[in-house]
Symmetry: C2
């Protein structure tokens, strides 16, 4: 029976295969619109997906993006964003936004952290101010931003962590999920609205447990009992072997309710996403396509391309001849290389545009192949081509043929 | 009678007032298309107008842009650009391009310069390589780039310069213009084409002479005798008082043939451009809208706005409520300020987009008002509003009310 304290500001409709640990496609209806799943969310850390306009994001096929509560909490602050009409209006993005809780970045970006049962305390990396984030405050900030999908505050232990540390993280995460449910009940009771005058967004709980499959499954069962409308897998792809990652994904997905969206946080490279979709994951976010692009590395069907390489000096071909993005339709590898070597902003711009477009096209192909029952074949082909391209690139690199910048 | 050695790869048709020193509108037909004048050329130094795509330039109304021969000569080199089909294809810009000769930037950017009657020698600011630029080589490079309008190599003396130095610069510039005409004859004789298979572009000569009106007029007369299809005013707005600048513009325009386009190089601020159009100038280029935007200062009808100012912290208004650019249609001053304070590339992007759009809209209004005979009124209104806005800004600055960043 549904927990009436939890705001169900989403509707999730499965379309494709619906077994627990196989690829599935669906539709996620949120306050600001519809998201076809499996979906990839580009990361807009500070209220902008670095280098891109909302128009370009929409043209690339983006239907939902992620914004970081930690960064927006510190600058410009949720009160200011709320006064300006909420995050959607502030950044000019009309479609859904998922916000993280801020907890992960507190752990990875700040120096002095105190974690207690109450919450986390840290000093701002901007001005050293002491800030506290509790499960309740994390939700309040996300409501003030006007998020479509809010994430619960959790404890994400590093890899490797001792079994007691993993268990403690799971227990605290569960306790915070219970407190969060109570807080959401109170928020609902008081009739609080977002800055845009809507009911607060949907909330996802986060399954921790490292690579301990039993602990992961127990954590997933305990959270499922709280009846959240969506679940995330946190604390994966943080250094553990990939076999362990995918074993954990499969184990958790066996336990999570089939009718709720599943979000694998912070993943990942194209081949990892394809494998995770095959294991029944619906949502992804990652800085790889945007961050790598700014450093001059872009993704293609045949793996990564390092734009600055001397190999492209006179190459009139686009980054990816099968890509339909604005960058590939109009510019050569030689020009992109020139832009990066000249320190021109248009270089990172076009590289980001390509890689985000590539990721989104990959997700669209997966949805289509799941829909027509050909995902297994599509996935095998994609992974084979990607691996072959990467192997070639590593060979060239080893042979030093592209080492000259 | 026309000098048959000079390639006339342009047609210039005056539409508005055609007196020597009053505002005029016209149409400049070049190899890659039509340019309505008076026109502003954004500067694409290294084969890109910094932060902008060609699509954004076209949407802003840009019909011609400027590229710097000096920078492209050093990187990626004219041979490479030619192999890749010429500068238009290289940078994905289908419309006209004017290239400078490289001479000005040799003087302003390089350390060791030797100027002789033969040409200029300098060391690359990139790798210290010794490079020579002669009047002939400057044209050859511009032909290899596939420029629509090429500029002659000239000598641009600093301000102030002694009368002998000014006269020497004018004489050398004239001698080089004579040699250039002979070289263009040879190029024509050999049937040389651009990388795109076209005949080489049109060529403009440059009038020097500092603020010595007699010397300027003599220089203009001597160059006019060579019958170039267009003329530029060089060496102005380099530190001299503005009254001297506009006296020089007026003096030169009295002498230049009415039926040839006139280009005031490196100018300028919006009010300076409006005044120069009033004095009969047709073409402008300047880094102000793009460079200032990257530093967070944008142009409006009421003068400059410094985006980082604390005054805009909670301001939901766009940069300029009368502007129709993508930045003004979608984003607040508060958001722009957040982007600049957060070091986000989207900040310089949107600021540049606005300022270039503002310049181009200003040029379009001038063409229209010249066409319907209302330029004098339009110009007086524009200059009054711009001056009033700038006076207010300076007052606020003096009062320290916008000093807090």
């Amino acid at each position: 029976m549904a927990n009436r304290d939890l705001n169900r500001a989403l509707r999730f409709t499965l379309r494709g295969t619906a077994a627990a640990v196989s690829a599935r496609s669906g539709v996620l209806d949120l306050a600001h619109g519809r998201v076809a799943t499996p979906a990839f969310m580009p990361v807009g850390t500070q209220g902008t997906v670095k280098t891109m306009t909302p128009r370009e994001l929409e043209e690339a096929g983006v239907e939902i993006l992620l914004a970081n509560t930690y960064h927006l909490l510190l600058r410009p602050g949720p009160e200011r964003v709320a006064r300006l009409g909420g995050l959607h209006r502030f950044m000019g993005w009309p479609r859904p936004i998922l916000t993280d809780s801020g907890g992960y970045q507190v752990l990875s970006l700040t120096d002095r952290v105190g974690i207690t049962d109450e919450g986390v305390r840290f000093r701002s990396h901007l001005d050293g101010a002491l800030v506290e984030l509790t499960p309740e405050r994390a939700l309040d900030v996300q409501i003030a931003l006007g998020s479509d999908v809010m994430m619960l505050l959790d404890v994400c232990p590093p890899y490797p962590s001792s079994p007691p540390a993993l268990r403690a993280a799971v227990h605290r995460t569960q306790a915070w999920a219970v407190r969060s449910a109570a807080h959401l009940g109170a928020v609902r009771e008081e009739g609080r609205l977002t800055p845009a005058g809507r009911r607060p967004g949907a909330v996802f709980a986060i399954v921790q447990g490292g690579v301990d499959l039993d602990l992961r499954q127990a954590a997933a069962r305990d959270l499922t009992a709280l009846d959240y409308p969506g679940y995330a897998l946190g604390g994966l792809m943080v250094g553990e072997p990939k076999t362990a990652t995918f074993a954990a994904v499969a184990a958790v997905n066996e336990v999570l309710p089939v009718d709720r969206p599943r979000y694998l946080m912070g993943v990942g490279a194209p081949d990892d996403i394809v494998r995770a979709v095959g294991a029944g994951v619906d949502l992804f976010d990652c800085v790889l396509p945007t961050r790598n692009a700014r450093n001059g590395t872009v993704f293609t069907r045949r793996g990564k391309i390092v734009i600055k390489n001397a190999a492209w000096k006179d190459d009139p071909r686009p980054i990816d001849e099968r890509c339909r993005c604005y960058a590939c339709a109009n510019f050569s590898r030689a020009y992109l290389r020139h832009l990066f070597h000249s320190g021109e902003i248009l270089g990172p711009r076009l590289a980001t545009l390509h890689s985000v477009s590539f990721y989104l096209a990959m997700m669209a192909e997966m949805r289509e192949s799941i829909g027509d029952g050909t995902f297994a074949r599509w996935s095998a082909d994609f992974l084979a081509e990607y691996a072959a391209g990467e192997a070639e690139r590593r060979e060239r690199l080893a042979a030093g043929r592209t080492a000259e910048p």
